[in-house]
């Protein structure tokens, strides 16, 4: 579960890096740019999947009075 959360954070970071990569270059190689776009598409797909609406789950936990 923690891994998935990290993935979302990491995905956003990678997407920001890709966006910056384009911004920082005046001349971008088409093939290299295409590789980045493909990578970004994959990351966006994963991120959107993670951000789609999913019902929250609630579970009640009982206090263990014997532990006192």
């Amino acid at each position: 579960m923690a891994k998935k959360e990290n993935n979302l954070g990491e995905n956003l970071k990678k997407l920001s890096d890709i966006s910056r990569w384009f911004e920082e270059r005046e001349d971008v190689d088409v093939e290299e740019g295409l590789k980045k776009v493909k990578e970004a598409a994959k990351l966006i797909k994963e991120s959107k999947k993670r951000l789609q609406e999913i019902e929250n789950e609630f579970e009640e936990v009982k206090k263990d009075l014997d532990e006192e």
Partner: protein
Amino acid sequence: MCMSYGVPKKITSEKPISVRDYISLVNELLKRIEVKVIGEVSGLKKASSGHLYFSLRDEKTGDVINCAIWSSVYRMCGVDLEEGMQVIISGTADIYRERGTFTFKVRTVEPVGEGALKKAYDELKEKLSREGLFDEEKKREVPEFPKKVGLITSKKGAAIHDFINNLEKVGFKVYICDTRVEGQEAVEDLLLSLKRMRKEEVDVLVITRGGGSLQSLLAFDNEMLVREIADFPVPVIAGIGHHEDITLSALAADKALSTPTATANFLTKGYQSARENVFHLEGSIKKSYENVLYRKNREFISFFNEIAGFFREILEEYRSVEDLAKRSLLYMKSIIEESKKNVVSLGTSISNCYRSVLQEKREKIDNISQLIRANDPKRQLSLGYAIVRKKGRPVKSVREIKKEDSMETSFFDGEAVSEVKEIKKKKYG
């Protein structure tokens, strides 16, 4: 004034009962009486075990009850009892069998009056601040995308509904621990809840309740609770309303928010921000690459035009060379044709010339032949001429001969040898 608290009106027994049974009966009845009692602390004694014993005295009447507070409860209460201190205690009473003494077992203690509470609050705050429990640098970052959330709150209040209703639906797994959150009595419950939550591998812990009076929020200024919060293994968010001063629990938490709604919003803000970021970054990357393609397309067209121009120049040059070559070939062809003609003409000319020379030579030969023929001695001889030789050599003059020389005379059809008898020279010769 005597007050009724739902205690059975009368219990009778015709048959005598033992002291033990009587104490058991009384204790059973006393156990059902859970009340708060207000009074003044007197005769405070602390045993070596850490338990405290004191009398709670009615200020007006001077009535007293014996009280005992166990060391664990005392620690939990977070109140330093002092002689003469006005307190509200809660708990139940019983009769100590061996001595028959009545003792009120204290479960909670709270100072009476805003002033006392404020004083206790300030002192504890000062103490915990010195220890660094509220230091900003100790605050942990709440995960941007928490998934498993521990929620300590009362199921009865509005807070839980506010929290759940405002929690965005991104698949949170919320572990709820139902807890008392009102008054000093909530301390024990809250401490148990925190202990229970340590067993769940949550990403973040939320302790929340609605706002309330200073009295109702008292539990959240409890020292043990504050220390538990500061020591909790994952970041803690305190969504606890406050009166005048922020509760010490909120100060010790990694993030303090005023309401359950604000807490829920805070937990989902990372997801909302991520959604916006994904949308923004998707657009930005797409636009960037479209620009790249547009630029490259323009570059390609420009390059293509340049190449086309280059090839056009080459083609034009080639055509010019081709024209030149064609013209040269035609010229060469014409030269060859002319040369051919010249060769044929020259051949004819040479042939004619040769023929003419040949004819000339032939004529000359004929002439010479005629001349030779005309001058052939044999022909002359046949005409009557003869050749005279002396010693084999022709004699052309009479001066070459002398008398009695032997002479050979050749005739057309033979020779004769003769002897000179006489020589007659011509006068002019």
